[in-house]
Amino acid sequence: MTDISAITPRRARIAGIIDASGVPGIALGSTMMGFAVIAREAGFDFWMTFLTSFSVWGMPGQVAFVSLYATGASLFLMFVAVALANMRMMLMVISGADILRLRDSGLPLWKRALMMHLLAITSWAQISYRQNDYNPAMLRVYYMAFSLTIFAFGMTGTTIGYFLNDVMPPEILRLVIFITPIYILLLLMNAQQSVSRLAAVLGGAVCPFLYATAGDWAILLAGFLGGTGAIAFYQLRTYFEDKGRLDG
């Protein structure tokens, strides 16, 4: 372990770019490629597809959006569907802003808002994984470098997906698209705190069963059940350990 107080902004920035340029960038780029394919099928032109990735930057919401667009749904329904699909953003931002200590950063609100616009599952999981390797100020530098890099990968993926889906054979495309779920799920299982790992296992395990009856509500339900279950387990364990210590 290196001395974290010795890390310079330059080093944090380079580390962010390098870390993002491997699996995270490829995973996100391929996910956005998949989105562009669906968007094109739904009748979006290139700029609409590009702008959707750029301004929404939240995959489940983007997919819900273009899928409904293809069916000719009302504007209101689309708004509600995107809002529901991306509701998890709020919790991710609360958690991400806490990890990055944005409250104590002294940054103006618009800058913090812009930073959080760049927050994706990938970058959130990454800073959660790396939070003890940097002090808060350097973690913010690392986060910006990492997020902007995967954003560039994502926008490149959107562009490639829109234009190249005719020449990319589906046999290759499906391999590339499989990277995202595998990478993120394994990254979650690498979380430093055991309560986070337990939450991920519980949420991930119940979701497919709930999905059959609850549809896309299953994600919110599974999140609530998994998170609450994990917290309850560790709170109870601490309680009984303390009790045992006092009694014994």
Binding site: S55, V82, M116, R174, L175, L186, A200, P208
Partner: protein, 110 residues
């Protein structure tokens, strides 16, 4: 195919962006009021983990598009291979590589 005017189409994109940004912005404002080490923050963090895992499991188990042309058994088996490799080696890159290679072999040759 959809019957929206050009204006409506651009409006829907604006609405989609607004729908997402509202959550991010509320999260940012709320984060100022929740103490970092409180039980509430721990709970939010745990729910975020569970929810993200749920999103990815939905994609893995019920995919749409080109991934749905692969058998569910293969997808789950490769996740298991990845998890096993990670617990044995503690190396994320190796686990991803193992899971992806297994998937490439399975869907191409079986």
């Amino acid at each position: 195919m959809a019957e929206y005017t050009l204006f409506e189409t651009w409006l829907t994109i604006f609405l989609a962006a607004l729908a997402t940004f509202s959550w991010r912005f509320s999260g940012l404002i709320l984060s100022d009021y929740i103490r970092p080490d409180s039980l509430l923050m721990k709970w939010i963090n745990a729910v975020a983990y569970a929810m993200v895992a749920a999103v990815l499991m939905r994609i893995l188990v019920f995919p749409t598009g080109v991934l749905s042309t692969t058998p569910l058994d293969y997808r789950l088996a490769c996740l298991a291979i990845g998890l096993l490799l990670m617990f044995l080696t503690r190396k994320l890159w190796l686990a991803i590589l193992g899971a992806m290679s297994a998937f490439a072999v399975l869907v191409t040759y079986f």
